[in-house]
């Protein structure tokens, strides 16, 4: 079977099918016409035509993150590939498994500045986990299978395969995935048991412990999230998570402290600051989380579980590094915890929880509840109530609305929350929502958005309409690039340089022009009504324009360069003495 001759384009289709791909997001062009021709002549692989290549990658990310599978993208050479770059880097930063196929000019023209030629492997080298240029059709199948293996193994990430047009036409030999083994790439999945044993001793003797978890748990699969939940409940320890890790532990549990970091809760950040044992599972001590490094959790012993050895001791020196898959590590941790009949220090833990409850009582997410204007937090609270008990997925764009969504929407399951964390890509949410919706046609998919972010990829409404993806674009419209405005207010003397959203369209009419449903809320009373109407729409996209308080800022906030115990709670906290000079340069 492995000796059949196919064209390069047919090899691509066969390899994708053999890799379990059912949807591919793409945009045709000259250098990928043979592949599009092969796509046309089959019915197993569904192609979703986006309106811009960046959106193809984000849609594949939404698909990947909501299913745990590898997302797949097809773009043409030159501008097709360069448009995909932002999406590729987004997937790299958030460790999302993708395979992106790009067309390339025929091999004999490479290097000649041909029409729509770009040095795609050169451009994408720092934006992908790995990339390939396939110059020989007989290497194509092997390379594609390797690409999927590299994308999904270890710390997942995007892999690009650049395929010249003549290679797509040429006849070659197909090899099935079972016959392909990567020469070198063998990420460490199983942890060292000695390290786990050390960690268990530290955990069992902790007086003020905290779990700090991240996207690594989500990437390790729902099984890892289940093990995490089990371990956290067994110990009775408090748990917080990064933006990327939301949903790994149920937010409805009392042990959940909420998200940590720059816009995290008071209780989560103070628990991090005052803990004596920090158990980091699948998070990477990102600067949004640590704040001022020299004042980061100064008194704690730190355990760090990560599948990527380069994450260990990168930003924060740790006491017990454990390299391995979060699921495998948690499995071993639970097993050894039970085998050694460990139990937490109940008295110390009680005292610790007492302290945490005190911080919790500060009610840091409280906001000024008013009837005169729609507060963005209120709109999200109402969305939360409306979605309760319903099968739903949330994506976001980037900015204030994203942080409010992380603060106000609870996630009880993994793979339900998709947001651009590492790269912070405005315009991510709508295409990601389309990807998630196509993977879960019967679920409710909401893109929590801001008006400025929405404008960045709003052409994708066309895609959603074409494929009848009933995504809900929930725009918290404050007529500003809210997070930019917030920083300008706090750090730049309220000089709102270029952060006002001038010349906005009428979002309701915009929706109608595409044949979608457009809804608007301008008063508090209307919020519930539009949410109800929005949820009733199941056959087409829906744009919801919610006119929220333009001046509202996102709190709590740890300004750049400050420590976890130096939190701003609201507009009454003075910003002037909040940010030191050296913090100003931080983003």
């Amino acid at each position: 079977m492995s000796e059949q001759k196919l064209t390069g384009a047919q090899i691509v289709i066969k390899a994708l099918k053999d890799q379990g791909v059912d949807i591919i997001f793409g945009y045709p062009g000259g250098a990928v016409l043979p592949i599009y021709d092969a796509l046309f002549q089959q019915n197993d692989l569904r192609h979703v035509l986006v309106r811009h290549e960046q959106a193809a990658v984000h849609a594949a990310e939404g698909y990947a993150r909501s299913t745990g599978k590898v997302g797949c993208v097809l773009v043409t050479s030159g501008p097709g590939a360069t448009n995909a770059v932002t999406g590729l880097l987004d997937a790299l930063c958030d460790s999302i498994p993708l395979v992106c196929l790009s067309g390339q000019v025929p091999t004999h023209l490479i290097g000649n500045d041909a029409f729509q030629e770009a040095d795609t492997t050169g451009i994408t080298r720092p934006c992908t986990k790995h990339n390939y240029l396939v110059k020989d059709v007989d290497n194509l199948a092997r390379t594609l299978h390797e690409a999927f293996y590299v994308a999904r193994s270890g710390r997942p990430g995007p892999v690009l395969v650049d395929i010249p047009k003549d290679v797509q036409f040429a006849d070659g030999t197909y090899v099935p995935p079972t016959e392909v083994k990567h020469k070198t790439y063998r990420p460490q999945v199983k942890p060292e048991i000695a390290r786990i044993e050390e960690a268990i001793e530290l955990i069992a003797n902790a007086k003020r412990p905290v779990f700090y978890t991240g996207g690594g748990v989500i990437n390790a699969g729902p099984f890892a999230a289940k093990l995490l939940t089990q371990f956290v409940k067994t110990t009775g320890f408090p748990i917080t998570s990064t933006l990327m890790g939301l949903g790994a532990f149920p937010a409805s549990e009392n042990q959940w402290l909420g998200m940590l970091g720059m816009h995290g809760t008071y209780e989560a950040n103070l628990a991090m600051y005052e803990c004596d044992v920090m158990i980091n599972i699948g998070a990477r001590f990102d600067d949004r989380v640590t704040g001022k490094l020299s004042a980061f959790s100064p008194g704690s012993k730190k355990i760090h579980v990560d599948i990527d050895p380069s994450s260990i001791n990168k930003n924060v020196a740790v006491d017990i590094p454990i390299v391995g898959d979060c699921g495998a590590v948690l499995e071993d941790m639970l097993r050894i915890w039970k085998a050694r009949a460990k139990s937490p220090d109940k008295a110390a833990l009680k005292e610790w929880w007492g302290k945490i409850e005190g911080w919790r009582a500060r009610n840091c997410l409280n906001y000024n509840r008013t009837e005169s204007v729609i507060k963005p937090q209120y709109a999200l609270e109402r969305l939360r109530e409306a979605l309760r008990g319903k099968d739903h997925y949330i994506t976001t764009e980037v900015g204030q609305h994203q942080m409010w969504a992380a603060q106000f929407l609870p996630f009880d399951q993994p793979n339900r929350w998709m947001t651009s964390g590492g790269l912070g890509t405005m315009g991510y949410g709508l295409p990601a929502a389309i990807g998630a919706q196509l993977a879960h046609p019967d679920a409710i998919v909401v893109d929590v958005s801001g008006e400025a972010s929405f404008l960045m990829n709003m052409q994708e409404i066309g895609t959603a309409v074409q494929y009848r993806a009933p995504v809900k674009i929930f725009i918290l419209n404050n007529q500003y690039m809210g997070m930019v405005r917030q920083w300008q207010e706090l750090l730049h003397g309220s000089r709102y340089s270029q952060s006002y959203s001038e010349a906005l369209p009428d979002f309701v009419k915009l929706a109608e022009s595409w044949g979608c449903v457009g809804l608007r809320a301008t008063t508090v009373a209307e919020v519930d009504q539009v949410i109800e109407k929005m949820l009733a729409v199941t056959d087409r996209p829906c744009i919801i324009d919610i006119a929220v308080d333009p001046k509202e800022n996102c709190f709590p906030m740890i300004p750049g360069g400050k420590a976890h115990n130096e939190i701003l709670f609201g507009p009454d906290d003075s910003p002037s003495d909040a940010t030191p000079e050296d913090g100003m340069v931080l983003v």
């Binding site: 492997t121 050169g122 080298r125 720092p126 986990k129 790995h130 990339n131 240029l133 590299v150 990567h182 020469k183 070198t184 790439y185 990527d308 050895p309 380069s310 260990i312 001791n313 990168k314 020196a317």
Partner: protein, 168 residues
């Protein structure tokens, strides 16, 4: 955390495939690490393996990061820190061109003899010396030649190998 800057010689075994050197160099420039020298050539023709020897400097934390980041590159087989892993032999090869006549020319030739440099090209007004030695020896030789009519120097950068019978 110690902030002492250390100098390390690192050997990296990689698949000899297009772009592999660009990946290594891109990693250093993208993450702001130093490269003091870098040499690369295929060392195993049958398996298409190349060996990169690079000399870099940084704090202990940075050196560990560099090794972890290098190991993470998909075409990288092995990364060895020769500075950490025990005694290693390090050598550089240099070609040094010196032009001049009279006493300076004689002195250059005399010094070349002391340094065991070979004359690989000679004209009536110039020499090209070939010198193999440690970086310091090459530095010293080039330094001396500067005063005796140095025209240009070309250096390979460090290649290195651990001492003893064990293979890399």
């Amino acid at each position: 955390m110690e902030n002492v800057i250390e100098k390390h010689t690192i050997a990296v075994l990689v698949d000899n495939e297009p772009g592999v050197l660009a990946r290594v160099i891109g990693l250093f420039s993208g993450r702001g690490y130093n490269i003091e020298s870098l040499t690369v050539a295929e060392v195993n023709n049958a398996d298409h393996l190349s060996r990169i020897t690079l000399v870099t400097s940084g704090t202990r934390m940075i050196i560990e990061q560099i090794k972890a980041q290098l190991s993470r590159l998909v075409p990288v087989h092995r990364v060895h820190d020769l500075t950490d892993e025990g005694p290693a032999v390090e050598r550089e090869l240099a070609l040094v061109k010196v032009a001049g006549t009279g006493d300076k020319r004689i002195e250059a030739l005399r010094l070349a003899d002391i340094f065991k440099a070979k004359v690989v090209d000679a004209t009536l007004t110039s020499f090209v010396f070939e010198l193999t030695g440690t970086t310091e020896q090459v530095d010293d030789f080039v330094g001396l030649m500067t005063q005796l009519g140095l025209v240009e120097a070309s250096r390979t950068g460090v290649v290195a190998m651990s001492k003893g019978p064990a293979a890399f």
